[in-house]
Symmetry: D2
Subunit: 304 residues, 4 copies
């Protein structure tokens, strides 16, 4: 089993056929594309992977495909995203069987859950399946923020191996970094646009959605930060910020998720990595103008 050790870990998109079934050859090509670029790990069935839309069998098949191509070259993290503990534990058991090297779980959602109950949630997952467990802090999706005290306690007692921070709260991330042992507990920033700041304050790695489309950019940014070349890191971040503007391509006629996931997939299609840019129901698809705008963004970023 391959160990996670910082670096760039893209949350892998889940390519679909026009009939909205898993497009296995495209997913295989995407996995190979990312590994060849030099990424340090792959995060399957995360938010960018449309996990909330995928039935269980599609989730597990996607993991199986990615783990098959990865073949131990890089660790494969599996998102076990579901409402609360017993359902998450079921996923944890399943993904271990399908090749996951680590588990990524959020705080409970849908059922109002108190921070005093978060510990029990993560401990039950950790106890059920012997794989490194990563807490995924994503208040925009689950409606609550993982408190620093909870993360630190679960890091100290060995429940959690890492934190993936998609909260946008750099102050909170910094607090976790200050209060945990970096040799035993890793922090990942989920931000596309403040990735340099995450590394500046000591994060071990990055999980940027748009690294599907431009893994080389985030790898350059990561390497620059590693050698403390902050001018280079900021310059690369600046380029990637411009590219990331592509997520607004759908404007106000759709949700931001439809726009962002649609843009990532269209970008991957433009680059010849995947065959279709189809997204899951009920996302609104990009129209011709919006697709042309995606191509334009990639062109300006030097990706075509």
């Amino acid at each position: 089993m391959t160990q996670l050790d910082g670096g760039v870990v893209p949350p892998v998109c889940t390519p679909l056929t026009p009939e909205r079934e898993l497009d296995v050859p495209s997913l295989e090509r995407l996995t190979a594309f990312l590994i060849e670029a030099g990424v340090h790990g792959l995060f399957v069935t995360g938010s960018t992977g449309e996990v909330a839309y995928l039935p269980d069998d599609v989730r597990y098949r996607a993991l199986e495909v990615v783990a098959g191509v990865a073949a131990g070259q890089v660790p494969v993290l599996a998102g076990i995203i579901d409402t609360t503990t017993p359902r998450v534990v079921e996923h944890a058991k399943a993904v271990k069987a399908f090749g996951a090297d680590a588990l990524v779980a959020t705080a409970p959602f849908y059922a109002p859950t108190h921070p005093s109950e978060f510990g029990g949630h993560f401990r039950a997952i950790r106890a059920a399946v012997d794989l490194p467990l990563i807490a995924y802090d994503i208040p925009a999706s689950v409606g609550s923020k993982l408190p620093t005290d909870v993360v630190v306690e679960l890091a100290e007692d060995g429940t959690l191996a890492a934190l993936k921070d998609s909260s946008g709260d750099l102050d909170g991330l910094r607090a976790v970094l200050e209060r945990t042992d970096p040799t035993r507990f890793q922090c990942y920033s989920g931000s596309e646009t403040l990735a340099d700041l995450g590394l500046f304050i000591g994060a071990h790695g990055l999980v940027p959605g748009i690294a599907n489309v431009d893994p080389h950019g985030y790898l350059r940014l990561y390497e620059a930060a590693r050698r403390e070349d902050w001018d280079a890191a900021r310059a690369e971040q600046s380029r990637l910020r411009r590219l990331f503007e592509v997520i607004r391509v759908g404007g106000t006629r759709m949700g931001r998720y439809s726009s962002a996931i649609g843009a990532f997939k269209e970008g991957l299609k433009c680059r010849g990595v995947i065959a279709n840019a189809t997204t899951s129901q009920p996302m609104i698809p990009l129209d011709d103008t919006e697709r042309a705008a995606v191509r334009q963004h990639l062109d300006e970023a030097g990706l075509l």
Copy 2:
């Protein structure tokens, strides 16, 4: 198949054994208890039924048990609660096979979804499975409110058969009632404490969690409202408001869900309906003092 036609439709609790497995005999007794009390329908695997905690097989088994006992005497509604469309459609197909008379689905959650995408969500569910579809408006759990315009449009085109309103927004519920045809579209209030107001403004029925414990009270309230005896309706509501205070029994040492579901189950145990008050992980169980307080509340409400 039995048709839903207003009235009191409790969201059925899901009794568990001390090992946290489905307690089938208790669920059978609870179903019989509610039907004998005279309820007009049963809502299985709703929020009160701990749906967010139950793995798929437990959800479907619970439905099967309730539908078996109901045996067509009252309609059985099944909550098909999951993050977004493709996953919800899978549940819809399954629950039809397990005996559901109607489907209850929320707006998408976890994945940020725009109101312009809600229509596609409900239409896809309705198209996939031929059962009456009820929209479940529960912003506290899903993070978004179903806009009146969306509900009215989906009522008019026949996608939705009913609305279950757990938003607490009586102004919005009133707007839906004003703008839909009451002979073709029904509205249910999910409030325990403003049930009389829901009926006063024209709602067809009630889905109060604590009707598990005191179905007779909500039936009296409903009947009083039907004959426009508002003094009697308010008096019964007042009694039920006092009883509903039981949900605060856990105070601040746990989440409000742990406290409320724990109190409902303890209440059912006190009344001899179910065998155990066990709740799902990671809910914090009530302690001895809190359990005694539940019994005290029931005693004061004349339920022991």
Copy 3:
């Protein structure tokens, strides 16, 4: 001094000249119009009165004008709306001198204030100026809800004489009504569209913004509720709900406040009560189409 004793208490609009100065003759006519209609009190410099926009001297002059016309026929309540205690106390002293019969104060805003500090806020106001003090619960403006426990404690110890509830939380209002002595503590609903429900649950009076335009409608509703003629109350509320749709006249090209206040003032102009529909900076004024729509709404409501 005139005592407040329930009933319809409109939050009086503040007419402005085209140069955005206080239009004294219009305010005198509006005051007389409302008193002749039979209102039970007048609430000056509330949210509907554009209090947040009015410099101190305009606030106090508006109060002076209204109190002058009222001349003891009905009580005049003065909104003393400011960020926190010492500033609110200054207003309290001033409005007493300008003829207020009672004070209306919100929870502190701008400065993050904890519920444990709300008691000190209201007690300091009450101690500084000997006038009945009314708590104004308006979370949409101040960012926090007055907890039931706080209101009840301040009612019991005599700090508060009444509550004006603009929170939309009928459950909370009901809890306050249940836990206070109706002979010593009054509750007012600030809702235009659920006024019948407020009275149904026991509120003493109403403070509906659109009662500026149609005081007779709210008086009919109030009287119907007093004699427990709920069919009549609901029918009147239904008519007033349709009229209240006028607040959406500005659509999405302006804030909802610009639209609502603009509509109220245009309505008063259509009815010949005030001379100009000018609103304060930076509100966006209604355009010709929108003004015509206001007239149309009033026409349909039988007010022209």
Copy 4:
């Protein structure tokens, strides 16, 4: 008149006597203390200066005192914090007379205001008083975020001279920095704990509340960032983060504002700068244990 040009600009505390009147000698000493430390400007009557609690005369007197001591050595910025345009314009006129070199205004609050109305707000202030105008983005207090597009437009047309960002949204601050001309528009970070990140992304200056207590620390941080010595900047920030923990000294028995402002003032008293740590009503004062904890924090930070 002295021009603002980046650097450390503390939001000056407002010392009060035990009777809660302005403590002029203490304010004079505090002003001198900060100027001697080398700060680049002084921000009077900001949130840290308890502006929301101070009656107008106290606000203006505080400004007059600070401007008198500053005597043109550093620019004095005046917070003109009030609900909306006409009231803010009144303050703008007053503070010009009392010696302000620049104005600091927030988005409107209390009255729900649409982003389309923000431009009119700032333009009206700018048109009324000829002083540089700084937009103060503080969503936690005013309930809305200044959109990047609005800030950029108002920077380009010369309405705004600068932005003080207290939103915590580094992504948004970065967007403003990217889209404005740094020779004509300045950005200030209001964060105590991410000040290094603000400077890293290009902000011109800092407005940290706790710089009242430790101006030298923020000056060292600022100078380190200016010479791009990021290791030194981070080390200083790390020390200041520990010091800033002092704001939690009041725990959960009071609001966070009572705790933070109480701690700043107690810290200034410990350092011999001001005579009393009294805070405004209705803030809860620190008790003996909490005051001792403040002293302990300062001791550990090497400030005693």
